[in-house]
Symmetry: C2
DNA sequence: TTGACATATTCCGATATGGGAATATAATTC
DNA sequence: GAATTATATTCCCATATCGGAATATGTCAA
């Protein structure tokens, strides 16, 4: 079967580091493709391809203005990721607590 | 170059749905492989392979007891994911605020 | 040792990826 | 309409994936 498509999921789409960079860049404001190309120093076709993936998954929105395409991160599509990873928060808190505890016991043994 | 290895990153490792299931299952308590196999209804070799990936990325820890291997989620390795996605929180808040606003304007136009 | 149980590894095949290069499409300007 | 600018698509390739099936490794028990 091979790996799940990059467009099957926000999880899969976001696995690619460049796509994460793009999402960060487009979070605050919409930007034309040329801006992304210049800022991230990537070949234009590569950027277009990544944007296509992000668009298919709904992680970005587009708007055309003349010959420019303005892309913008759709933050809401990232929420599932944040929520899923958030379910583990209580567990890493536990771990931290334990580590802290041990550290304190070490400083002041007995 | 092809896609980045699944073992290159927590992001890549977690892109696979079954691996997410495993992580959830192992978050509360350590469990032997046979338990995972039974609970998630997956073929044993498949589970072993997924665990290997998770282990390489540090998303799980193992402990051997006799012939059983007890795996457990290392929640701390999930934090980068949560933190990265968390940087977008302010943006989806904005969006929600806007949507809410529009909805209220609609209810009571003029 | 032999056997039984628990888990890991290997081999296979189909598939999709991301990069590079080239080219296509679309919109604007002259 | 031709040239130019902005973006998208296509083609090719090396690579790694996941699933399935078979098998190997490791540990315990009799």
């Amino acid at each position: 079967m091979a790996r799940a498509s990059t467009t099957s999921d926000a999880f899969n789409a976001v696995a690619e580091p460049r796509r994460r960079d793009i999402l960060v860049l487009l979070a605050a404001d919409e930007r034309p493709v040329s801006d992304i190309v210049a800022t991230l120093n990537l070949p234009q076709p590569s950027v277009s391809k990544h944007l296509r993936v992000l668009l298919e998954v709904g992680l970005v929105d587009v708007r055309r203005d003349g010959r420019q395409m303005f892309y913008r991160t759709n933050a809401d599509a990232i929420r599932p990721l944040h929520e899923w990873s958030g379910t583990f928060e209580r567990y890493w808190r536990h771990q931290l607590a334990r580590i802290k505890e041990r550290a304190e016991n070490k400083e002041q043994p007995k």
